[in-house]
Amino acid sequence: MLELVDLSKKFKQNDAVKNLNMFIEKGEIIGLLGPNGAGKSTAISMLSSLIEPTKGDVRFRNKSMIKHPAPLRNVIGVVPQEIALYEDLTAEENMQFFGKIYRLRGIQLKKKIDEVLEQIGLTDRRKDIVKTFSGGMKRRLNIGVAMLHDPEIIIMDEPTVGIDPQSRNYILETVKRLNKEKQMTVLYTSHYMEEVEFLCDRIYIMDKGNLIASGTKDEIKRILSAEKTISIQADRWNDEFIEELKQNPTVNRVTVGEKEITIIIPREVNMFAAIIKMAENADVELNSVDVQTPTLEDVFLHLTGRALRD
């Protein structure tokens, strides 16, 4: 339905986005994951026709949207990274203004406002000035304003930055519900891998302007398919045990924490029995031994050698 082809943006010498290729199908929740400065917002601005790409194309229903973006604008709702609201106006006044910008009028507008306020849980605060809202409420209204014109695709740029966990969960649940109940297509941008992991069907990972991985959650995690991580927990260790783990030829890496040791081993190796034996020999009392499923964080670490959040 929506497709980015070799999309690139250069700010002077800075390649903010390089040859980004991406597609979004109806009803999907797509995640765009990357650390700050990866180029996510720049990609979204190009996609939503706010800035012109240096190179590449944005195609909607097989038509280029670069020169004449009106058809695309009509079907997308953009939730900017910033709180793009009038702080001096009430929630309702904000919605009225933006609703009118989308040419909604009269009863139709009023009904839509009521409906969206309900969805974002701000019905009882509709008459309050936005300035008095908490960060989470502002974020919710920021999303609500983008939904007034019933967009087919909603594009959210880090919609949960800087808010409390409760509001964050509320937003995540809302996005999931909208997708389920109204088949709304979602492009969700974040630098929190757990959000993307929770919400998204397919994921694109960006770093320094480059797309470094893409695919379904499982596909991406299979990037780490050669290895697995085992977490060993105990109240205290002794050197003999640690030494024995390190000497073991099948163990690739050992990381020692106060009450946890993680080891990385080839995926096909089963080491449970061996670890328990080693602990017995060294007189270490184990609390647990678990195989950890790799996270997107691990994938990112694997691909870039850096943590997602700095």
Binding site: S49, L50, I51, E52, E82, L85, D88, F98, Y102, I129
Partner: protein
């Protein structure tokens, strides 16, 4: 859509009472402060800026008229002793001498009024000489008629003919105030004299610059309150431009502008919305402040059609500035131009336009320059309307205001960033 943008802009302004208070309350307070402060400044004669060159022409002969008046008293059969007594006291009632020597020749007045006694034959030359602020002509029989009026209560008080140089702003105002004062004092002096109360030379009293105006025989004089009502209003309306510019840039900064664009509203609709907001709010601002001036300071407009024409033209010019500030701040993605305008340019333009004192009186060049600011052109037009000029006399100022607005809008349209030029 444009209407929605204007409506929302108004709502934002209304939600900001401090802003409104500054825009509307400040000029009202400044008018009060400046019009009293200016009065004080001129009373103490401390301002070297104020210099009035006054031509004084006597068409009659005061001495002869006094003698004729005394002769008439005799003819009417007044007792000989009474006439003799009057002859000694008449010195104090000779109106022209009092005006020349005690009033215009007094020490306080001499500091800023340069008196030139000239012959009637030189008048044509003086009309052409722009350095004169005003010409006071004493008509024939002025002394005779004054005495008849003062002593015998016959006829009405004769008037002096005053012609003002409209290019000078504050000078004519001073002359008018002095003359009004003089005529009132003369009547009072005669009253005291008749009732046997001794009085010294006529004193200019404290109330001289009360800002009260009376109509003399020619155009309306401008009082200091009127002067500052106009001066402060045309200055303050410029802040509407920066206020609108600030709101518009805020819309860019918080990405509301992006939202508007994403709603398939063209940037030109937004542009026109800003222009119209600036124009409309300026117009309303001018009406509110002038309304206050009318109620509180009694500033009345003799010709409402001219008044509204100037007000509308000035409002469009300010709207032009608003959209120009918006376009430049969008282009450079910085509020600096708007802050610079509100902080420095407005003050410069206000000084140049004559909002604080009639700077144009000191040089024709500065006057011309002042009239090339929208506030200066507006101010000149308003003052001319107050003096009684009609729309024809101010048409060149109105034309300038419109051209200024068009130039601003065109430059704004050229600099307003197209899509992708800036994020």
């Amino acid at each position: 859509m444009i209407g929605q943008i204007v409506k929302k802009q108004a709502l934002l302004l209304l939600r900001n009472p401090i802003q409104i208070l500054l825009l509307v309350g400040l000029p009202i307070i400044l008018i009060a402060i400046l019009s009293t402060a200016l009065g004080g400044m001129m009373m103490s004669g401390e301002s070297p800026n104020i210099h009035v060159k006054l031509a004084f022409v006597e068409h009659g002969d005061e001495e002869a008229e006094i003698q004729r008046f005394l002769g008439e008293l005799e003819d009417e059969g007044m007792p000989r002793e009474a006439i003799e007594e009057m002859e000694t006291g008449i010195e104090q009632m000779a109106p022209v001498s009092i005006l020349k020597e005690s009033v215009l020749g007094s020490e306080e007045v001499r500091e800023f009024v340069e008196l030139h006694e000239v012959e009637a034959s030189e008048l044509t030359e003086i009309w052409d000489d722009n350095s004169y602020t005003a010409v006071v002509e004493v008509p024939e029989n002025f002394t005779y008629e004054s005495l008849e009026y003062l002593v015998l209560n016959k006829n009405s008080q004769p008037v002096l003919e005053v012609s003002q140089n409209d290019d000078h702003q504050i000078g004519p105002m001073i002359i008018n105030d002095i003359l009004i004062q003089f005529q009132e004092q003369l009547t009072l002096g005669a009253f005291l004299e008749k009732n046997g109360i001794e009085q010294d030379v006529i004193q200019l009293d404290e109330g001289m610059f009360s800002g009260e105006t009376l109509t003399l025989d020619q155009k309306n004089p401008i009082g200091s309150q009127e002067y500052y009502a106009v001066g402060m209003t045309v200055m303050n309306v410029l802040f509407i431009a920066s206020t609108i510019g600030t709101i518009a840039f805020m819309e860019k900064k918080i990405h509301v502008f992006d939202r508007i664009i994403l709603g398939n509203v063209s940037r030109w609709e937004y542009f026109i919305g800003v222009l119209l907001s600036g124009t409309l709010f300026s117009f309303i601002h001018l009406l509110i402040v002038y309304g206050f001036s009318w109620i509180v300071y009694g500033v009345r407009w003799p010709d409402l059609i001219s008044f509204f024409t100037v007000t509308a033209s000035l409002a469009i010019a300010v709207g032009g500035i608003a959209v120009l500030l918006t376009a430049i701040s969008y282009r450079f993605n910085s509020e600096m131009i708007t802050n610079f305008f509100a902080g420095i340019i407005v003050t410069l333009m206000a000084v140049l336009g004559g909002s604080f004192f009639p700077i144009g009186d000191s040089s024709a060049f500065i006057r011309a320059l002042g009239n090339l600011t929208p506030n200066g052109a507006g101010m000149s037009s308003y003052l001319m309307i107050l003096r009684g000029d009609g729309i024809a006399e101010i048409s060149h100022h109105i034309l300038f205001l419109i051209l200024f607005a068009i130039a601003s809008i065109v430059i704004a349209a050229i600099s307003f960033p197209k899509r992708g030029a800036s994020v």
